[in-house]
Every structure is written in C-alpha cells, then in structure tokens.
C-alpha cells in the first residue's frame, strides 16, 4: 500500500501518497467530477512531483488523456492489484511542459 507523505494535498483535500519513490494518488473513492482530473493535473504541474506519478482510479479517465498530451506526459494503465478493482495508471513526463495558450497556470 502507498505510504502517507507530508506533501500538500491536491484538489483541496486529496492526500498525496508515496510509493516506490514516486508520488501516488488513490482516487478510487472520489466520484465527483472533475475532482480526480484536477487532483492529477495539480500534482503533475508541481515542480517537486518528479517525472513519474502513480494513480489508482475506479475507472478509465478518458477525459484525462488529452490534458496529459497537452502537458507532455505519457501513460500506461493496468488493472489495480487486489480485490478493490479499478485501474492503476503510471504517468511519465516525456517532455518539458509545452508552451500552450490554453494553460494559464
């Protein structure tokens, strides 16, 4: 199981966990759109997040992928381990944050 860290929560109150040297978000119990999306994007836009982020999701976040493309991240996905079901995403930074007129942060 991911360990708790002292990183500031994302999307208001979503704790940033730590797993195998990379930040991890467990969003399986968050069903309020678009909070899971905001939590992931807020984390990957933090300077200290590194080049790899792991995310546990209840379902495939199809609305996340265009945003990852915009930000120069790739992803792999596989079923989450255990009986809880869901999906495990590994996000990897592939290029520096692109200059996009759409991103104002």
């Amino acid at each position: 199981m991911p360990e708790t860290t002292k990183h500031k929560p994302v999307a208001g109150d979503v704790p940033v966990l730590w797993e195998a040297g990379a930040p991890c978000l467990d969003l399986r119990d968050i069903h309020t759109p678009p909070k899971p999306l905001v939590a992931i994007l807020e984390l990957i836009e933090r300077a200290e997040c590194g080049d790899t982020v792991r995310v546990l999701m209840a379902r495939d976040p199809v609305n996340l992928y265009p945003e990852l493309v915009e930000r120069g991240w790739s992803w792999t996905k596989e079923p989450a381990a255990g009986d809880d079901g869901g999906l495990r995403l590994t996000l990897t930074r592939t290029q520096p944050l692109p200059e996009s007129s759409e991103s104002g942060s």
Partner: protein, 444 residues
C-alpha cells in the same frame, strides 16, 4: 466517417461510437444555419411575430429543437458517461432517438414554415418519439448517479428536473399542434406561454445549470461549486419554475412574479459559484468560449428581468416577443455555442487518445481567430434582431439575420475543421504500444 482504434479498460463504453454524438452536433450545425437564414429571409415576419405558423415559428423551432435540444441530446449521451463514469445501456437506443428526432425536427420545421397541419403532426410525432427515448435513457442514467451519491448531486438534481419540464413542454407542444387544426384549447396564448417557460427555463435552463456544474470546472480545471451552494441554487430554481408555471396556469401574476424573483436569486447564487470556480481554476485563459458563456449569463439575468416586467405589463407591446428572444437566443443559444466551442475539440481529443492516436494540441484544434469572428457576428446579430423586434422594423432584423448567418457559417467551418483534424490523426500511424492482455501504453 470512421473512427478506428482499440480501447481498453472500459473507455469504449464511456465513449460512445463517435457517430452518435456527432450526428446530433452535425444536425445542430445545419439547423443553426437554417434559423439565421430564415430570419434574414423573412425579417418582417420575425419583427412582427405574435404566434401562429409561418417562417418565424419555423425559425424559433429550428433553434429550440434543431439547435438547443439537438445539442443537449448529443452532449447528454456522450458527456454524462465521460464525466460521471455511469454508462448508457447500449448504443442502439441513442441511435434510435436520432432516427426519430433529427428527421422529425426537419419535418416539423417544414410544417411550421408552410402551415401544413398533417406535416406538423408527423414531425411532432417523430420529435416526441425521439425525445421520449432520450428522456428514458438519460433519466435512468441520472437516477443511477443519484443512487450512488452520498449527498446532493447537482447534475442529477437539475437533470431530472429538466426532464420533468421537458415532458410538460412536449405534452403542451403536441397539444398546440393538435389545437392548431382542431381548436380545442380555451386559452391558447396561456398554453403557449407555459410551453415556452417549461421548455426554455425548465428543460434547457435546468439542463444548462446542471451541466455547468461539471463542464465549467472540467474546462477550467477547477474543483467546482460546493454542494450546499448547488443545493440552494437548485431549490430556488425549481421553486421559481414551479411558481412561474403555476402563476401562468392559474392566472395569478403575483405568483409568476414570485417565481421570476426566486429564479433571479438562484441565478445570482449560481453565477457567484461559477465566477468563484473560474477565479480559482488552474486554467484561466479559456478564450472566447468563456466570453460567450458569460454573455449568455448576462442575457439569462436580462431575460428573467424582462419576464418580470412582462408579468406586470411594464415591457411594452413587444415585451413578450423580446423576452422570448432574449431568453432563447441571448441566453441559451449564446451559452451553448460558447460551451460547444470547447466540447467539440475536447471530445475529439478524447476519441483520439482513447483510440491510441495523438491529437493535435487544443490551441491547434480550436484556434481563436474563427471563434472570435463567430462571436462578433453572433453578438452583432443578437443586438440587431433585438432592436428590430423592439421597434418592429424588418431592416435591423434582416441585417442581424445576415450577421448571424455569416457567424453560423464560420462556426460550421470551425466544427468541420475539428472533425477533419481528429479524423486525420486517427488515420495516421499509431504511436501506441501495447503489452499483452492488460497494459495499454500510450506515448504522446
């Protein structure tokens, strides 16, 4: 148009066959052009419109059914599963809704333009069947979302209220079609007002408020509106709608006015929530689409105030016609066009990434230039047609219709370009690599 690609882990069921939402959007683009063309071609009918079959009624329903309801169906079928993870049960029923609704709307609009009752009745039947399928499908989905929620769920609350209002508006609309031939209604003008309020403020209004709760935070990347605030907006909006409908039905102006006031309070709170949502968002530069949505919000407030003035006969002879125009064109059409400017490229990008393709950046998919040109034409059209209706002058209406038509053509070109680019990237060699069985790797 084919959209190839394999999709893993449930994305396929969240993303419908793209031809389903896009057929509704494509039909809406055609009706958008048609409505402005009708306004430009028959300005005298529009300027003096007081009800009854003719080009003005046809233009009005090209907007309400052809653009607003058509887009609402496409957005509901596709964006609800994407945003909430709740899936539609199969794709046949949404397809069947389109088979009835799209040709039904075309036939109804034709019948309204020519005044042929059998044609109107046939079109009305198609529209009713399409909307009935839509209501059953979306109500089922919203009900499942509501059952999953642990607290008030704004999308389901507003959505179910919108569907209830749609049922009322549909029944009244069918009654008006029958009455046009048989004349059985005692108070036709009252029924027309009820039909307008139930459809415009009830169905489309509630749906716009509900979708704003997910789409505005989704586009702006914001946490959204606090649940307590949403609940208050919902209570005020529903109470306002019920009071307004009851006041019109019972002939009690004070009750109708109380409904409008309750609606105004709800809208004020809603706009405060939306403004806060945008102010705290990760993405601040939303371009001209948010400008159009804000313009729509301005006209929403203006329409409620005009409605209030109309109740007390303070808006002049053309007050009711202006009220209808400001609500349907100023608020709903403007807001919807602003939202659709972002939905179309976003949906296209989702289809591309889920199929393993790399979509163009949003800034390439939706360049600001054409969107600004459309917005300028649209706002100019609104002002000119509103002036023409107020003064009963055909010339400003014709000029406004031409500006709107030009803007609609720009908008259509923008939408077709998005589809063309997405289609191109789906046909390009994929950059996706997949490991056997369980892993889907995608590299932009």
């Amino acid at each position: 148009m084919s959209f190839p690609g394999s999709i893993l882990m449930g994305a396929q069921s969240q993303l419908l066959d793209p031809t389903i939402p896009y057929r509704f959007f494509a039909a809406a683009l055609v009706f958008h052009i048609l409505l402005w063309a009708l306004i430009a071609a028959f300005p005298a009918d529009i300027a003096a419109f007081g009800g009854g079959p003719g080009p003005a009624l046809a233009a009005l329903h090209s907007l309400t059914l052809g653009v607003l309801a058509m887009t609402a169906m496409g957005v509901s079928f596709q964006m609800l599963p994407v945003a909430t993870g709740m899936l539609l049960r199969g794709a046949t029923a949404p397809r069947a809704a389109s088979w009835f609704f799209i040709p039904g709307t075309a036939v109804l609009v034709w019948g309204m333009a020519t005044g042929e009752h059998p044609v109107m009745a046939l079109g009305g039947l198609g529209v009713a069947l399409g909307l009935a399928i839509y209501m059953v499908l979306v109500a089922g989905l919203l009900w499942r979302i509501l059952r999953r929620a642990v607290t008030f769920e704004p999308l389901s609350g507003f959505g179910l209220a919108a569907l209830a209002a749609l049922a009322v508006a549909l029944a009244l609309g069918l009654a008006l079609i029958v009455d046009d031939d048989h004349g059985f209604l005692h108070d036709r003008a009252g029924v027309i007002t009820l039909h307008f309020v139930a459809a415009g403020f009830g169905f489309m209004g509630m749906l716009a408020l509900g979708f704003s709760h997910i789409l505005v935070p989704l586009f702006a990347l914001s946490e959204g509106v606090p649940v307590g605030e949403s609940r208050t907006v919902f209570t005020l909006a529903v109470a306002g709608l019920l009071a307004a409908l009851a006041g019109i039905f019972l002939g009690i102006p004070l009750l109708t006015a109380a409904g409008a006031l309750s609606g105004l309070l709800g809208v004020a709170l809603h706009l405060r929530g939306m403004t806060h949502c945008l102010a705290t968002a990760m993405r601040r530069k939303l371009g001209v689409s948010i400008l159009l949505m804000r313009t729509g919000w301005f006209f929403l407030v203006a329409s409620l105030m005009l409605g209030l003035a109309t109740v007390f006969d303070l808006a002049g002879d053309r007050g009711f016609a202006l009220f209808v125009f400001v609500a349907l064109f100023g608020w709903l059409l403007t807001f919807l066009l602003g939202a659709l400017q972002r939905i179309l490229p976003f949906l296209g990008a989702m289809n591309a990434t889920s199929a393993g393709a790399t979509p163009p950046l949003m800034s390439e998919l939706a360049p600001e230039g054409p969107r600004r040109a459309h917005a300028a034409c649209h706002v100019l059209a609104l002002l000119l047609v509103a002036a023409g209706i107020t003064l009963e002058l055909p010339l400003p209406v014709r000029l406004g219709g031409l500006a709107g038509l030009f803007g609609a053509l720009i908008y259509t070109a923008f939408a077709l370009r998005v589809l063309w680019l997405i289609r191109g990237c789906l046909r390009a060699p994929k950059k996706t690599t997949e490991t056997p069985e369980t892993t889907d790797k995608e590299k932009p």
